[in-house]
């Protein structure tokens, strides 16, 4: 028996009927075709699937779609607006914060939240904030630089 889920994703409202065990990540990828949200593990470790659920960075593979009923979700596809890249997207490109790109959507969503909570984070605060998101390509060096760059561009120190 399916469950009904009402969910707003990147500003668009959806009403969907899905099997109860459907994960939020599965709903985004398979029902809404938003494949920018990646699934890199099955233990909530890697963070590639991170999205904003009502403003909180959330690992979408760790949440049933049904639990997101009534929520507003932002995925990587929703970061840019009116054809303008989000400052964090610009910063990841400018500072070479990505290589293979697989962790990047989740990494950027987490970075958005870090900067929302603290517009001028220290390097240690950035590294601590990113610890739930794994990257195997960059050694994190340029991801940290990108977050610092975005902070500076947004008026933080």
């Amino acid at each position: 028996m399916n469950v009904e889920v009402t969910i707003t994703v990147n500003g668009t409202a959806h009403r969907l009927s899905v099997p109860p065990r459907t994960l939020l990540s599965t709903l985004l990828r398979d029902e809404l075709d938003l494949t920018g949200t990646h699934v890199g593990c099955d233990t909530s470790s890697c963070g590639a699937c991170t999205v904003l659920v009502d403003g909180d960075a959330t690992k979408s593979c760790t949440m049933f779609a049904a639990q997101a009923d009534g929520s507003s979700v932002t995925t990587v596809e929703g970061l840019a607006s009116n054809g303008e890249l989000h400052p964090i997207q610009e910063a990841f490109r400018e500072k070479h914060g990505l290589q293979c790109g697989f962790c990047t959507p989740g990494m950027m969503i987490t970075a958005v939240q870090i900067l929302e909570r603290n517009p001028s984070p220290s390097e240690a605060e950035i590294r601590s904030g990113l610890r739930g998101n794994l990257c195997r390509c960059t050694g994190y060096h340029n991801i940290v630089a990108a977050v610092q760059h975005a902070a500076a561009n947004s008026g933080g120190d």
Binding site: L34, G36, G40, A48, L85, G139, Y140
Partner: protein, 802 residues
């Protein structure tokens, strides 16, 4: 004016727009109508006989389309191939053992994760539900996971007829180590374990296949580093004709060597799609990835170094038990042999070297290349033993290295082991690193810190690596089953825009940017007028792929050759148009002109159009403007450098942190410094991960105890510092770009630098060696044991004093 405007520039990447907006297309993002989903039944035992497989319950489960066992597919599937068969001249005259590797196990399973059946269903959930319903009657057999133990009498036999579970005993030597050791003032021995690692690209593997029964065309999308080799090997294993197979590597989420083979799943998914005449997809879960995708390293090395008491090393001897896992993966035999043994000379002058490697089957996941692949293991032995020796004779690790370095050279240096380094300046890289680091200041800081109960240590790694894989004749003579050249096509369109096709297959390395920079600079056209195409066997002729830091050194040179050919033909067309001899035509900044006749100038776009319009071509010249090239290098390339690590150890808890890291790399000429630095950073983090926290651990009966990301410690942002990187530039003579390759330096250099640093921090306690990873528990025990031993020494001395 120069045309090299973008060479050496930090150009931001062409790839990024799609990847930062969620428009990447990894295999799991691809959709086809009527797509079926495949899941695999995998062995829960390390070693077991398969008595019976009952698929009836699974076949009747909701959504299930079909279930296949190895017996069902035996006629369509041959053994997975051994892609590198070591030559008998290097294996004591005995041919190496290459036992069959059935894609689905039929009689026996040989490691946890060995696949025994495939379930195809209408959804991923239905397929994985049905996997649990496949009833396999296993008869567990004794297992062995340690390579040394597997060679001992009484060890379980993993492959029938393979004595002592040894695939091979491989040997290389130079000079006479035993004579050198007999004459040496000092001989130092150490058992050095290079633990097993799990590569962990962030995208696990994924495969989708679609078959058109009308055309017999089979298309396979796979997360791979080698689409053309996958196509070739797929055709060999399945008998499906090569020209009727198209392999596409779409966006690939990291590889690090573990996507460099023909995998069982590729032939299983392909053949089942063909049989069902339906598109089929398999996506590897991370937990599955940990057992089903190759692992790396896993060496037990017994090393010996000998030399004089004043710091001249005279020889090195190494015996290795190299764990191959349950079967031979495609390139597995080459990794602990060719890429290990030939690197043991390091950047040093000693002439006596002895290396023997036992390649051993065990009941574990197959082991093959993982970033660095043989070279990190070699560098770890060499650089660890250099510092071990320096400590033994009471000399500074820098002075000892300098004393033994090969002098700088630009045009080749023959090594006793039989290889020829291309160019090197090892003193230069060490000097640059020391300038950045300030060694004297550190030693003072270390003494001060120790008085405050803080343990600091510094470690060095003056590494060298073998890259630019590879001269095909050399590789072939050493057992390679494929050529290792690279190809390119440059297609100039009538409007003057250009498509570059490359046989390399990037998965994060930024080839679309780097190759466009080269093309733009050579042709004098904007980068946005160049598109780089890769990873599709139907769009580009045969290519070799991306591994072994080869893409620029070999693939980039293939591109240069095609660009040269296109320019030569364009000059002929321009000369004809201008009524001059082609030899008089100069091509610069996108313009053809004749010296001293400035009014006769033809822009690139006009020549491109002229080549296709063909109304005024020289007699006998074919229309069109396109060139194809294959570059087979005459030698490998040999990047080098100096890495310096500082670790801090908490004496109370043993917790060991990497607090500073300086890297000077010499990768020859650099096209895009930003991209090179990025690869160095990532490599360092992987080497640091090995040194500090990563280890794949098996129980004796073959269970992977570190079977998920909860158990295997991939480094996080919090575990790493920022890195201080720099370069010296010693161009290679092997290609015209002067580029050596930059993808693996960090991984090769980092682990010895960090372990050397930890030993340095504990040297005053009498510690001479540590095995990786430097976990807090291990370090705490080491400190406690060392202090206990020191107390015992002191009280014994006190008693003697009384």
């Amino acid at each position: 004016m120069t045309t090299d405007t973008l060479i050496g520039q930090e150009v931001t990447r062409v790839e990024d727009q799609a990847l930062i907006t969620g428009r990447g297309q990894y295999v799991d993002d691809l959709r086809l109508p009527g797509l079926l989903h495949l899941a695999l039944v995998r062995s829960p035992y390390g070693h077991a006989k398969i008595n019976r497989i009952d698929v009836s319950a699974a076949a009747n489960a909701p959504g299930v389309v079909s279930v296949f066992t190895g017996a069902d597919l035996a006629e369509q599937l041959g053994s997975l191939p051994a892609g590198w068969v070591l030559i008998p001249e290097q294996t004591g005259g005995e041919p190496m053992a290459t036992p069959d590797h059935p894609p689905l196990a039929i009689e026996k399973v040989r490691y946890v994760g060995d696949a025994v059946a495939a379930v195809v269903a209408s959804s991923p959930a239905a397929a994985s539900d049905a996997v649990a319903l496949v009833d396999v009657d296993y008869e567990p057999l004794p297992a062995v996971t340690d390579a040394e133990q597997a060679t001992m009498e009484g060890a379980p036999e993993i492959h029938e007829g393979v004595a002592n579970n040894k695939s091979f005993d491989w040997t290389v030597a130079a000079g006479d180590y035993d004579a050198a050791a007999a004459e040496a003032d000092v001989v130092v021995k150490e058992r050095i374990v290079n633990q097993r690692l799990i590569p962990n690209p962030m995208e696990p593997r994924g495969i989708m296949a679609d078959y058109n029964a009308g055309t017999e065309q089979l298309t396979i999308w796979t997360s791979t580093q080698i689409p053309h080799l996958v196509r070739l090997l797929f055709a060999l294993v399945t008998g499906h004709p090569e020209h009727k197979v198209r392999v596409i590597a779409p966006d690939v989420g990291g590889g690090f060597g573990c996507k460099l083979y023909l995998y069982a799943e590729e032939v299983i998914v392909g053949i089942i799609a063909k049989q069902l005449e339906k598109p089929v997809k398999w996506i590897e879960s991370r937990t599955e990835n940990y057992v089903a995708t190759t692992h790396g390293r896993d060496h037990i090395a017994d090393a010996e170094i000998c030399g004089t008491s004043d710091g001249i090393v005279t020889g090195l001897k190494v015996h290795v038990y190299a764990n191959l896992g349950g079967y031979l993966s495609t390139f597995a035999p080459a990794i602990p042999t060719i890429l290990f043994g030939l690197m043991l000379g390091g950047c040093y002058k000693f002439e006596n070297l002895s290396c023997t490697v036992a390649g051993v089957f065990t009941n574990t996941t197959p082991v093959d290349a993982y970033r660095g692949a043989g070279r990190p293991e070699a560098t770890y032995v060499v650089e660890r033993m250099m510092e071990r020796y320096a400590h033994e004779i009471g000399r500074d690790v820098i002075g000892v290295r300098r004393r033994n370095f090969i002098r700088p050279f630009r045009r080749g240096h023959d090594m006793p082991i039989g290889v020829t380094y291309d160019s090197g300046n090892y003193q230069g890289a060490l000097g640059a690193a020391l300038d950045m680091f300030d060694y004297q200041a550190f030693r003072q800081e270390q003494r001060d810190a120790r008085r405050e109960g803080k343990l600091l240590g510094v470690g060095f790694s003056t590494y060298i690596e073998i890259c630019g894989m590879a001269p095909s004749a050399v590789a072939g003579a050493l057992g390679a089953g494929a050529g290792l050249w690279e190809s390119s096509t440059v297609r100039v369109h009538p409007t003057g825009t250009v498509t570059v096709f490359t046989g390399t297959s990037p998965h994060g390395q930024g080839h679309e940017t780097t190759l466009a920079q080269i093309t733009s600079s050579r042709l004098g056209i904007p980068m946005e007028n160049v598109e780089v195409v890769h990873g599709d066997t139907e769009r580009h002729q045969f290519g070799t792929g991306t591994f072994g830091s080869r893409s620029l050194a070999v693939g980039g040179e293939a591109l240069m050759m095609s660009l040269d050919k296109v320019i030569e033909k364009a000059k002929e067309i321009a000369a004809h148009e201008m009524g001059v001899d082609a030899k008089q035509v100069v091509f610069e900044n996108g313009t053809f002109y004749v010296e001293d006749i400035q009014e006769r100038e033809i822009p690139w776009g006009d020549v491109a159009l002229g080549a296709y319009w063909a109304k005024n071509l020289p007699d006998g010249l074919e229309p069109g403007l396109e060139a194809v090239s294959f570059f087979d290098p005459q030698n490998f390339t040999w990047p080098f450098g100096t890495h310096i690590a500082v670790v801090e150890i908490d004496e109370m808890t043993g917790e060991t942190s990497l607090v500073r890291y300086v890297a000077i790399d010499d990768v020859g000429n650099v096209i895009n410094p930003m991209i090179v630095d990025g690869m160095v950073h990532g490599g360092i983090a992987q080497g640091a991960g090995q040194a500090l926290q990563e280890a794949a651990v098996y129980s004796d009966d073959g269970q992977l105890l570190t079977g998920s990301m909860m158990d295997y410690a991939v480094p996080t942002a919090e575990d790493m510092p920022s890195f201080e990187t720099g370069r010296t530039v010693t161009p290679t003579i092997v290609n015209s770009l002067g580029a050596k390759g930059a993808g693996e330096t960090g991984t090769i250099a980092a682990s010895p630098a960090i372990v050397n640093a930890a030993v340095d921090a504990l040297k005053h306690l009498g510690v001479t060696h540590l095995n990786m990873p430097l976990s807090a528990e291990k370090m705490w025990r080491t400190i406690q044991d060392a202090k206990e031993a020191r107390r015992a020494r002191r009280s014994a001395a006190a008693r003697r004093g009384n």
